[in-house]
């Protein structure tokens, strides 16, 4: 979800985020329950059709799916040994389809639309849960991933420059200190932007 949204005007792009989230949940559940390779082939056709409707760049879609292929490179041989070819193929297709559907959602839905959808979902529970706060927490969680990745990268470079490559302390201490400082600064920025309750 970290900035992979690809703008467009397709039917998939224009569909409400809440409807897409609901459909995503249903499709992933149905696919997870399928044991027949024929049914999974039909589901694959449906997923491909959805991607065609969304009209996304092939390279962009491929980059979302590649990470799961690395996982399958290890998982499939294990499954073949313990469950046979059919079980391995079923597991692989289910996983790829689930990841592809999730990627389709994130590629066609801005984060703000997801936050609005989450807030709409939580509205009936407003008495116990503050939807705005949950939405903000989600946004901050997404935002903090690249921030923390940058901190770790810079600290790793600094550790290397000082010749302390193996030191866990030289990694952990600066990362924790900078993460806490960043959290404090982010809190100040939120307060300054009016999110002060």
């Amino acid at each position: 979800m970290i900035g992979v949204f690809h703008p467009g005007r397709s039917l998939v792009h224009r569909a409400p985020a809440l409807a897409k989230l609901g459909l995503l949940a249903v499709l992933v559940t149905v696919i997870a329950l399928q044991t027949s390779l024929v049914a999974l082939a039909v589901a694959s056709g449906l997923v491909v059709a959805l991607f065609l409707v969304a009209w996304l760049p092939v390279g962009l879609v491929w980059r979302q799916i590649v990470p799961v292929l690395w996982l399958l490179a290890f998982a499939v041989p294990v499954q073949v040994v313990f469950g046979g070819w059919e079980a391995a193929a079923t597991m692989a297709v289910r996983l790829v389809l689930a990841v592809a559907l999730a990627a389709l959602y994130t590629l066609t839905t801005p984060v703000t639309a997801t936050l609005d959808a989450m807030q709409a979902l939580l509205r009936p529970f407003r008495r116990w849960i503050d939807p705005d706060r949950v939405g903000l927490t989600l946004a901050l969680t997404i935002r903090c991933v690249p921030l923390l990745a940058d901190i770790v990268r810079e600290v790793l470079e600094a550790r290397k420059a000082r010749g302390a490559e193996g030191s866990v302390v030289a990694l952990a201490v600066p990362v924790i200190v900078r993460a806490l400082q960043t959290a404090e600064h982010l809190g100040d920025a939120l307060t300054a932007r009016g999110f002060d309750d």
Binding site: G3, T112, L186, D188
Partner: protein, 229 residues
């Protein structure tokens, strides 16, 4: 212009007095605050937005006391931080600008129009759907400025907004600051950013040691830090 008043304001942090009995009335359009590291200038600027609460004295903006009306004051005072990375909350450029308006309860179309206007004003419209964390330093600072200005504040406080930028980006951000109609309070080490300002305040050890037109106040500052002209 709003009237920003510091009335015998002090602030202590860990038993150290970082701002010491400062009294000022700021009415000018563009005001600069300079001083060495630890002089208390950033703390003073943060008090205008209520990010720091004075341990003694009173700060008011447009007659509103920050101690009691911090939330109302923040609606009229925008704050730009040194490191734009810490100010960006949402994943994409457009979403981050729009985020500021989530608390403003605007009609969706009005909010979208204001966001697009802010993006165009700072030349960010072509980057609107890009991941915000992948922008250059200068672009991030312009995004931070756009995210503040979309709320149409009457006052903008900026704490060393160009310190982390290269000369070209610092000049670009400075040009945008120069065009702002809002009342501007800028804390900066980069004195060229204060060109054309109406007033410059020099801080040293938590106190105001000079408060004058830029050419006079900056002369005092240069003498203070032992810098050649």
């Amino acid at each position: 212009m709003n009237e920003i008043v510091f009335d015998h304001v002090s602030h202590e942090f860990d038993a150290e007095r970082v701002v010491d009995d400062v009294s000022l009335v700021l009415r000018e359009h563009r005001i600069g605050i300079v001083g060495a590291n630890g002089s208390g200038k950033s703390t003073l600027a943060r008090m205008i937005n209520g990010l720091v609460t004075p341990t003694a004295g009173r700060v008011t903006v447009g007659g509103l006391d920050l101690a009691r009306h911090a939330r109302e004051v923040r609606r009229t005072v925008g704050f730009v931080f040194t490191n734009a990375d810490n100010q960006i909350v949402m994943p994409t450029v457009r979403e981050d600008v729009a985020f500021t308006l989530r608390r403003h309860k605007l009609e969706r179309a009005d909010a979208a129009a204001r966001v697009e206007a802010a993006l165009h004003r700072f030349g960010l419209h072509e980057l609107a759907d890009r991941p915000a964390h992948r922008l250059s330093g200068g672009q991030k600072q312009l995004l931070a400025l756009a995210s503040v200005l979309v709320a149409e504040p009457a006052v903008i406080v900026a704490d060393e907004p160009t310190t982390l930028l290269d000369a070209r980006n610092a000049r670009l951000v400075g040009e945008h600051f120069a065009e702002l109609p809002q009342q501007l309070v800028v804390v900066s080490h980069q004195l060229e950013l204060l060109d054309g300002f109406d007033r410059v305040i020099v801080m040293e050890a938590g106190r105001v040691v000079a408060d004058d037109r830029p050419e006079v106040a900056l002369e005092t500052y240069r003498e203070l830090i032992g810098s050649p002209r």
